[in-house]
Amino acid sequence: MAGVSDLPPTSSRRQSRKAPGIGLREASLSYQGKVVFENLNLDLPAGRLTCLLGPSGVGKSSLLRYIAGLSGSDSESTVSGHLEFGDSESGTSGIAYLAQQDLLLPWLNVLDNVMLGSRLRGETADRDRAMDLLARVGLAGQEKQRPVQLSGGMRQRVALARTLMEDRPVVLMDEPFSALDAITRYELQHLASSLLAGKTTLLVTHDPLEALRIGHRLLLLTGSPARITESIDPPDAPLRDVATPATAALQATIMRRLTEARRIATAGSDEPRRQVPE
């Protein structure tokens, strides 16, 4: 369980902005007339990694996009509510975003992709820091490669470096590892966990094991409109050994809750599907 988690602490410059806690207050979102969530309250503890679990289609990604300020840009959604940041200065400009797709620009090499944020803001990019981050994600010497030359896992490492390059106190991740094979996913979970230490992070995932391995807090989002139905703070710190009896029991609980949630959702819909066996 050692390895990447034993990386030296990040440079002092990276710690300059202290991560604030985030509170979501009375948040509502409707899309095409359908209420996704309504009057939702949610707290992301400062400097901690919170995992958001829930059955597919419940609105996990919508919630993450809401926090990222990406909801409501089209005419088909209605948005209300507000975000509270634990400090006064952050706001949505303090957020970095990592999606399920790596979203690397194919015409830029790895280094330029990592420095994309600066380019888009018209700032001078800190090349040395980008190189340092690439080394941290295990891609030293690959900076001149084009994304098309890299494997899926390497591309997601570049995306992770790009996210860290933004140097934002808050990081939102939407199933960033779900498209990777088991071993690559395992490596990247540990890498992300160590590199994101000290940042307020929200990780949307459908994998209870992943959440148990790297999350400080686990939230379950279920129902329609979606609500936070369970908040779990496992006693020990991540990275956890998921083979211990305590975590195994927690995993069983989460699986049971998710299964129930899906059964209720299925029973409530017009077209009944085959019931999930218990």
């Binding site: 990406l70 999606a99 620009l105 194919p106 994309l116 803001r121």
Partner: protein, 248 residues
């Protein structure tokens, strides 16, 4: 072998042509043999060169203006809802008018000189470039736009650093089409009314039954059109070298 193959194909076609002429004994004013055409090249070289120069200028100018206007229109369409609602339908409907039918009007308005042919070529090039580039611009991966928004990228920089590069493959398809239709615009313009150019030379030679000169002009035009296409294709490939090659 890669370079040799087109040369062999070309020589093979010439041989077939000569054999056809010899075997059928067709009159030289119906189908002159390759040797007669070669002779026409030799005897009329200065004149052919001059007229080719005129036509090539028309094509290149038309291609330049058409591509430039097409790019500008696509950018405006992609960034203005008003333009999409009000201008795009007009643009699409205008394509129902065959551009060739406009040739006499253009000659009437702009005269027998270069201008009417350049406008003709521009018109024929404008539409494929506009539509292809516009299509590319509005198909930017939404994930990239989300990323740019969260990163705090301005609208302008998102356009120049993400949307335009992402639209280049589509733009390239439009320009390839444009490069292959550009000579048509110029030649049709010349047929309708002109004082110089390969189209003019062909009409002139036709009236005097100098079919060998016609073939020489045609060959010159074909060579230039093919050369233009490959030069542009090469340039575009260089521009979007990051795209996986799906070429022949």
């Amino acid at each position: 072998m890669k370079l040799l193959r087109p040369i062999l194909i070309f020589l093979g076609l010439l041989l077939f042509w000569q054999m056809l002429v010899s075997a059928t004994g067709v009159a030289h004013y119906i189908l002159p043999g390759p040797l007669a055409v070669l002779n026409a090249f030799y005897e009329r070289w200065p004149s052919l060169l001059y007229h080719a120069g005129v036509t090539i200028s028309e094509i290149l100018l038309g291609l330049g203006f058409g591509t430039l206007l097409g790019c500008l229109s696509a950018l405006i369409l992609a960034n203005s809802r008003g333009a999409r609602l009000w201008v795009l339908p007009v643009l699409v409907i205008s394509q129902a008018i065959p551009v060739f039918a406009l040739a006499p009007i253009l000659v009437l308005w702009l005269g027998y000189g270069l201008a009417s042919k350049v406008v003709m070529a521009t018109l024929i090039i404008y539409f494929p470039v506009t539509i292809a580039f516009f299509d590319g611009l509005r198909r930017t991966d939404p994930g990239w736009l989300d990323l740019a928004q969260v990163m705090g990228g301005s609208r302008w920089r998102t356009l120049t650093r993400v949307r335009i590069p992402a639209a280049l493959p589509a733009f390239a398809s439009g320009v390839r089409v444009a490069a292959s239709v550009a000579p048509i615009g110029a030649i049709v313009g010349e047929w309708v009314g002109s004082s110089a150019g390969l189209g003019y030379l062909m009409l002139h030679a036709n009236a005097r039954l100098q079919v060998d000169v016609m073939f020489a002009a045609l060959l010159l035009l074909a060579l230039f059109a093919v050369g233009l296409y490959f030069a542009i294709d090469h340039g575009l490939r260089h521009l979007i070298s990051w795209q996986p090659d799906k070429a022949l």
